[in-house]
Amino acid sequence: MAEYKILVVDDEMGIRMGTRRILQNFRVDYPFMDEHIEFNVLEAPTGEDAIEIIDREMPDIILLDNKLPGIQGVEVLEYVKKNLYDIVVVMITSYASLELAVKATRDGAYDFIPKPFTPQELRSSIENITKQLFLKRMTQKMNKEGKLIRFQFLRVLSHELKAPINAIEGYLKIMHEKQFGDKIDSYTEMIDRSLERINGMRGLIMDLLDLTKIESGKPVQNLEKVDLTKIAGISIDTNRPYAIQKDVDVYLNTREPVFMEADPKEIEIILNNLISNAVKYNHQGGRVDVFVNQEKHRISLQVSDTGIGMTEEESSRLFQDFVRIKNPKTKHITGSGLGLSIAKKIVEMYHGDIEVTSIPDKGTTFTVVFPVE
């Protein structure tokens, strides 16, 4: 449990006591917080008292009335801002002085609560502020620790995991309430969509496992002499059922073995991602060509398809985490948005490079290049 200190500055004893009562048993928690936050209410009847308490107790949040007997609320606000204290200041103000409150907000108050307020209004204000403050502090802390990128990743991840659950839940509710009547056949499409979303989620989880392997496995790679042509063959076989289903032919255009020092599992992840994409974003009756090329100082893997292609702008975003190209052509295609970013991460571990060229409605070619001595 964490405790935030809230200082109420108001010359009306009723407001101070009311606030104390309202926030006494109130707590704030939300999914990302491991702990919940409770509140300790401090009181100051004047601005002068407030400043003394601020210096002594360093509250987290100040609820500040402007009309005080001595110095005014805005002066207390100024004091907090001048000293760069990490305190969220909220003005409590009567409707008559809304203009002042707006001005105070411009001068650095976080928000204002019009008075008289109901317990619910106060609680929901405090809840928002608490979350904001918690998040701000967490962000600052993570920035220091370089964890912000990780956090953003988790944020998108939780979104990506939650979306299919919401969709499936929605369909189940419709079925539960029999909104389309008693016949199960009326719900076929919803059931299909639910299964599709579950598949997508399973794919995401598999990709996450790959990603965890890459990120935790570094630099423990099981390097051995591997035949890339052979792995390409395995990968094509893995994708064969999917290709048949989509009516896409996949060809391996290299016969001779091409050897490289690598972890076969990692090469397979790269090829699986490229080949399954080439099938997935293809037209019915389309084809995929896979090449493994041995050159003097490099080895390249090439996967070309005759699929829907993409614009230059779309391909420039392709390798980022969770980026999925969204357009009418891709709207029925599910994916985690992680496959290519995983492939790129692995390629980079081998000091290699991955590139894409694409023409809309003609097709896309991915080329992976590994430097070799």
Binding site: T105, A167, G170, I174
Partner: protein, 128 residues
């Protein structure tokens, strides 16, 4: 006459389910699967209310779309429905002036909102 509600979301399942709900509330629903499609719809149609997803083509498609709708139809109320708030507590920093001036949503709603709550919020915005 039935009021028309524009729903924009790139999740086709969510879009379908939202359309269903809105129609059950007794409104006409027009749907778009992204910012671009929605932009072309508002060229010819003036909805009575719009419900927008936040992250579509880009992370802030919903904001941009809200801005464009408000510029064309200042009086059309806009709800931004998002799953982001509930997951992270992120409140889009509505306090700095530069944001509050261009984020033109009338209401932010969590995507998991119950149907009856949604109906109440819509009715409130439409002053029904």
């Amino acid at each position: 006459m039935k009021k028309t509600i524009l729903i924009v979301d790139d999740d086709m399942d969510y879009l379908f389910q939202m359309k269903l709900k809105v129609e059950q509330f007794g409104f006409e629903a027009i749907t778009a699967e992204g910012q671009k499609e929605a932009e072309s719809i508002i060229e010819t149609v003036r909805p009575d209310l719009a419900i927008l997803d936040l992250m579509m083509e880009t992370d802030d498609s919903g904001f941009i779309l809200a801005y464009k709708i408000k510029r064309k139809y200042p009086e059309v109320p806009i709800i931004i429905a998002t799953a982001v708030t509930a997951e992270t507590g992120m409140t889009f920093d509505i306090n700095p002036d530069e944001n509050s001036q261009w984020i033109k949503a009338d209401l932010f709603l969590d995507k998991g909102i119950r149907a009856d709550q949604l109906q109440r919020e819509i009715n409130k915005l439409l002053k029904i």
